[in-house]
């Protein structure tokens, strides 16, 4: 290690710590806001420790927009979970087919079509999706929401990158030994694909947990809203319930934060790989 003057290192650490505080402080302030009575925040917004823990907010947010908070939580878990599993399965199979046999009729067109879709500004794609859902009768259904959330660029790029890295000889050897394509997939490819499957699963979970706009647009009533959409609904309807908004924001944030912290290395590596490829 090259020796650098101490004062320079002190400055570098001071900057890094200040920047990190800028990124972390909003989380702490959100938690304080959820557990401190609103009047207390008004008199002292900067207090770093709650004067007492106030749990009254959970009565306020027991129902939002006429729907129980538990329903929003269940929707979040169900929509995120189902769309993640579907996304991993469908994208893995699709990317596998497209990587193994790019020569097949229409496969090139499919890949280009997918890339075009992913380039289209997401928010603006969602609006005509409303019309599509209306036409195929999936407006307001869980199925519509889950199917729409099952498609994403980073999942595809990570799988494509991985399948390209499998040496062709390994697969050919299995085929010469008489394995069917299904056996090749199950016995040769899947065992080595487990790490990338894990990475894509966690990243998809995080991305879909955060989704709100497609869910708002495809939904017909708050019955299919997830936590973020409920939060948006709440800011609209009860503009001033500061404590409730902070509590709901915290409930929305904590699961994603925990998943990320448990798998931070994998998530950051995967997001970097997926982005560099795309």
């Amino acid at each position: 290690m090259i020796h650098r003057p101490l004062w320079l290192r002190v400055i570098a650490y001071a900057i890094a710590i200040l920047v990190s505080l800028f990124y972390l402080y909003p989380y702490w302030w959100m938690l304080l806001g959820a557990f401190r009575p609103a009047e207390a925040v008004l008199t002292d917004p900067l207090r770093l420790w709650p004067e007492r823990l106030d749990f009254s907010v959970f009565r306020d947010i027991a129902t939002v927009g006429g729907v129980s908070i538990w329903r929003y939580l269940a929707n979040s878990v169900w929509i995120t979970g189902a769309s993640t599993i579907l996304s991993v399965g469908i994208t893995a199979l699709g990317a596998y087919a497209l990587t193994r046999r790019p020569d097949l009729l229409a496969f090139k067109a499919l890949r280009s079509g997918f890339l075009l879709t992913m380039m289209y500004p997401y928010m603006l794609l969602v609006i005509p999706v409303y019309i599509v859902m209306f036409k195929i009768g999936l407006l307001g259904t869980y199925a519509g929401i889950i199917l729409f959330l099952a498609l994403g660029p980073i999942q595809f790029f990570l799988f494509e990158q991985f399948f390209r890295s499998i040496p062709g000889e390994v697969i050919e050897a299995a085929i010469i030994d008489g394995a069917s394509e299904w056996q090749v997939l199950r016995l040769v490819v899947m065992p080595v694909a487990m790490p990338v499957v894990a990475t894509v699963t966690i990243i998809t979970f995080l991305l879909n947990w955060a989704q709100w706009f497609p869910i708002l647009v495809i939904s017909r009533s708050p019955d299919t809203y997830t936590l973020p959409v409920a939060l948006l609904n709440m800011t609209g309807e009860l503009g001033v319930n500061f404590q409730g908004i902070m509590a709901l924001a915290a409930i929305t944030t904590i699961p994603a934060t925990l998943v990320f912290l448990l798998a931070q290395r994998r998530v950051m590596q995967g997001m970097a790989d997926g982005a560099v490829k795309g």
């Binding site: 900067l46 046999r101 879709t117 209306f134 050919e172």
Partner: protein
């Protein structure tokens, strides 16, 4: 594939079509169809857009959008915001990544990285909801802090002059972790021996960073810039939750304006705006990639 490939039976082809089928179905139904629809709806009369046989009005929606002073103002503020955001995010992320990568930072590097990346995986809506209140004149910590250290108050989201800066900071908080990650990945594969050679040749630290390291950062600079341009051109969530386009239309960016028209049932104009924005996004992405490719690396 090598010449060892055994004869391909029809069965072996069909199985790949079967594997790709669900993926193809989703791509077509929820990707290509809506894109085609958005274009065709942009050519119809809004009130008839959802009917089985909509009335086509040619480019009327485009003309009405382009002659709409609110849309023009919206487009200009979107471009200004995008430019400012791209410069702020990319420069800040580059500087911070170089700091984290330097020999000045030893232990704790992972913690600094994780702290910055956390907002990237935090649901953006929740993050921005917190920022909306951080800026609040009575509840907010921002002005309380400025007051504490003796700085003048920040207008935040209440004033048209500062609303754009306020949401720029909130978005910076949400996005920079990603840009830093990409820069760090690039820095990790930079050739240290080039820097050492330059040092032997007598280049000082800043010269080495500028002439040796920076050129090697081209791939990540291109990726981050293109990504940032696309990202900020379609800025949406932060506006929905923090400013709702205000105050006085100061943050009424194109995505948000298009959504508001959609919400009012003005589908034709909303989709015309979407198409215009898509053309801008695609053009900018294309030009940026070209510039990134042309220069020698």
């Amino acid at each position: 594939m090598s010449s060892m490939t055994p004869p391909v039976s029809a069965n072996r082809v069909w199985v790949f079509y079967a594997f790709a089928l669900p993926f193809a179905a989703l791509t077509i139904i929820f990707g290509l169809w809506p894109i085609v629809l958005s274009f065709s709806v942009s050519l119809t009369k809004s009130a008839t857009a959802l009917r089985a046989e909509p009335i086509y009005v040619g480019l009327e929606n485009y003309l009405s959008v382009l002659s709409d002073p609110i849309f023009r103002a919206s487009l200009i503020s979107t471009l200004i915001y995008t430019l400012a955001s791209v410069v702020a995010n990319v420069l800040f992320a580059l500087g911070y990544a170089m700091l984290l990568h330097s020999t000045l930072i030893g232990p704790g590097r992972t913690i600094f990285k994780v702290a910055m990346f956390l907002p990237v995986v935090t649901p953006d809506l929740a993050g921005y909801a917190v920022w909306r209140w951080l800026y609040d004149q009575s509840f907010g910590a921002v002005n309380a802090f400025l007051d504490l250290v003796g700085l003048p108050a920040f207008g935040g989201i209440a004033s048209p002059d500062t609303a754009m800066i306020a949401i720029l900071i909130a978005e910076l908080w949400h996005h920079t972790g990603f840009f830093v990650l990409i820069f760090l990945a690039n820095l990790a594969i930079c050739d240290r021996s080039l820097e050492e050679a330059a040092e032997i040749d007598g280049a000082n630290r800043w010269q080495r960073k500028l002439y040796v390291v920076l050129p090697q950062m081209r791939p990540s600079l291109v990726i981050n810039t293109v990504y940032a341009v696309i990202q900020f051109l379609k800025t949406f969530t932060v506006v929905v939750i923090i400013t709702k386009g205000g105050p006085n239309g100061a943050t009424n960016f194109v995505s948000y304006y298009a959504y508001r028209l959609f919400d009012q049932g003005r589908y034709g104009e909303a989709m015309a705006m979407a198409s215009i924005l898509f053309v801008i996004v695609a053009a900018v992405a294309l030009v940026a990639y070209r510039i990134g490719d042309r220069r020698p690396s």
